[in-house]
């Protein structure tokens, strides 16, 4: 993965001489158009969030009017005793907890499937792999029925517990640890008297970091974006993740018009944590994604 990256600028410079300027222009035009398509809704959302209610419809929708962003943010955060802040906190709890624990558990399982030989290993792996193909929304309804039997619906756990399971994480960490954790190293650790669990947490985990970061990000995004499970499970507004919260505001826009602005500002704010996470971890993620797609 490192070789082609470092070879990139050199070869492109060499090839650049022979490149037809027309093809370059065409390529840049396509990239430019794509950029406009992907960014204009986000730009519009940002610009709209900086306006007050009157100027939202009366001024140029793609450009700034009077700067009211901070007032808008304050209004959203203080609306109904800060329920929006509660939602963001809930989302962070669901996602950080779920992704962190889910990654460790999937990593341990994938690692064991790659590094230990035992009867039923392939069967177990195939069952988990089947889990990757089962859509999460198909599980949501039966999960609701089970949780209502044990009276856990409308609790934190109803959304938190199912998000600890990442079959894709097992798949990825198995492939990755099979190729990146050498058996000789484990053998050496054993001879040095290190226990299997200790070897995993002190040594193997370090070799598996790119795969683990990828699994963490995947889980984080999946839980942050999750909508169906909370929609089915939760009635109590104070347990909502931010996606469900914004959704319920949007359904009430007709009765409470000021919510329209809150939906937009709330939407903008809900994107910030994910962007921060991507920027923070993007180097790891790109490498890990490649690992997942090579079969």
């Amino acid at each position: 993965m490192i070789a082609p990256l470092s070879a990139g600028p050199e070869t492109s410079a060499r090839r650049g001489v022979t490149e037809n300027p027309l093809s370059r222009l065409a390529a840049m035009a396509v990239m430019g158009l794509a950029t406009i398509y992907f960014l204009f809704p986000i730009w519009w959302l940002f610009v709209s969030s900086t306006k007050d209610r009157g100027q939202f419809t009366s001024t140029n929708p793609m450009w700034f009017a009077d700067w009211a962003l901070w007032d808008n943010v304050k209004a959203v955060l203080t609306y109904r005793d800060g329920v929006y802040l509660q939602w963001i906190l809930n989302s962070l709890l669901y996602t950080i907890g779920g992704a962190l624990i889910g990654t460790v558990l999937a990593g341990m399982c994938g690692y064991a499937l790659a590094k230990y030989r035992f009867r039923g290993r392939e069967a177990l792996f195939n069952i988990v792999l089947g889990g990757v193909l089962v859509p999460a929304t198909a599980l949501a309804l039966p999960l609701f029925l089970i949780f209502s039997r044990v009276e856990l619906t409308n609790t934190f756990w109803a959304v938190f517990l199912p998000s600890l399971v990442s079959p894709f994480g097992v798949y990825l960490t198995r492939i990755y640890s099979a190729s990146s954790v050498p058996d000789e190293l484990l053998e050496a650790a054993r001879l040095d008297g290190s226990g299997e669990v200790r070897t995993f947490f002190t040594m193997s985990v370090r070799l598996m970091v790119p795969a683990l970061v990828t699994v963490f990000l995947f889980q984080f995004v999946a839980i942050w974006n999750n909508f169906f499970l909370p929609l089915i499970m939760l009635r109590d507004e104070s347990l909502f993740p931010v996606t469900l919260g914004i959704y319920t505001w949007n359904t009430q826009v007709n009765q409470i018009p000021e919510l329209r602005g809150y939906v937009l500002v709330g939407a903008l704010l809900s994107v910030v944590p994910l962007i921060a996470l991507f920027l923070l971890l993007q180097r790891f993620w790109r490498n890990g994604l490649g690992a997942g797609s090579i079969k």
């Binding site: 992907f38 809704p41 230990y116 039966p142 029925l145 040095d192 909508f227 996606t243 959704y247």
Partner: protein
């Protein structure tokens, strides 16, 4: 940890002349830790994947019987009664056809766009790759529900910044609303799929390109004959995830119901499940869930097998 020069010798010795007892001992010790490694994930997987699937199948086999019109409800075994109802349900059949049509059109467009952008990003023609990569990927940071709400505003004639366009074209009308949703899904996921394809392009060894160039291949030829075949596994992966995503379409239509009356409560199979369970008719909803999960599984599995055979041949 022992020094590198010593370790191989020791390992070799242990392997070659090893006392059987010791190897057995470590084998037993190794297997002894398996419950620690596999147990926690296995338990949660059983509880939140296998159990719900089993429970849905069980629930789908029950029917509610009443003694008289106002009598007490009683659950009894009904065999495949619910499945009969699923397949007789016209609205459900329509919704399945609708998402299939959606998938047949949207998935190739999205993946084609992702592939073209990834190839351009990988070609020497484009400058400012880092910026483009981030720009294309940014929509993926927007949760599906939030993206649907944003685009709902953008499509609305009176709120949209594109009001000249939206006042002429009814993006939220019965004719177009499905494709308006396809645009939302495409907008969110192109960058994500592009990144998967792009990172597998980066993993192609540069010798392959040198060989192609020695044979006189230009950029287009290299893209077509070298790059695309080599990233085929990544494309298959993104296609399988897209098929799963299409059949579970829920957040977008659920949100669009607030913007457009053309989106009914049975617009997609998942909406049908949701509205049936809200009635509530859990047994029928469970049967819908099972059929949907099976269909998704069979479709993605078939696609995986078909494309694997083709790339092997």
């Amino acid at each position: 940890m022992s020094s590198p020069t010593v370790t191989p010798a020791v390992v070799g010795e242990a392997r070659a002349g090893t006392p059987a007892r010791r190897r057995q001992g470590s084998g037993r010790q190794q297997r002894g830790v398996l419950p620690i490694f596999l147990g926690p994930f296995g338990l949660l997987f059983a509880l939140f994947y296998l159990l719900p699937i089993g429970y849905a199948v069980y629930q789908s086999l029950l029917v509610v019987e009443r003694e008289g019109t106002f009598g007490k409800a009683r659950e009894t075994f009904g065999g495949l009664t619910q499945y009969g109802r699923v397949f007789e349900d016209d609205a459900f059949r329509e919704s399945v056809l609708r998402v299939l049509l959606f998938g047949i059109v949207q998935v190739p467009i999205m993946l084609g766009l992702a592939l073209v952008l990834a190839l351009l990003l990988d070609s020497p023609l484009v400058r400012g790759k880092k910026f483009f990569r981030l720009a294309f990927f940014a929509p993926y940071a927007v949760p599906g529900v939030v993206a649907a709400i944003m685009w709902g505003f953008l499509y609305s004639p009176n709120l949209s910044p594109l009001s000249e366009l939206t006042s002429k074209v009814g993006f939220l009308s019965a004719d177009l609303v499905l494709w308006s949703m396809a645009n939302v899904v495409t907008w969110v996921y192109v960058g994500y799929n592009m990144l998967i394809i792009y990172s597998s392009l980066l993993a192609i060894p540069s010798e392959v390109y040198e060989a192609a160039r020695l044979d006189g291949a230009g950029q287009l030829r290299i893209a077509w004959s070298v790059k695309i075949p080599m990233v085929a596994p990544a494309i298959v992966l993104t296609a399988v995830f897209s098929i799963i995503g299409t059949l579970q379409l829920l957040a977008e239509p659920q949100v669009f119901r607030t913007f457009s009356s053309a989106v009914t409560s049975t617009y997609t199979p998942n909406l049908t499940v949701y509205s049936t369970s809200a009635v509530p008719n859990f047994h029928l909803a469970a049967a819908f869930s099972v059929v949907l999960a099976l269909a998704t599984f069979v479709l993605s599995f078939t696609f995986l097998k078909l494309t694997q055979r083709r790339t092997d041949a």
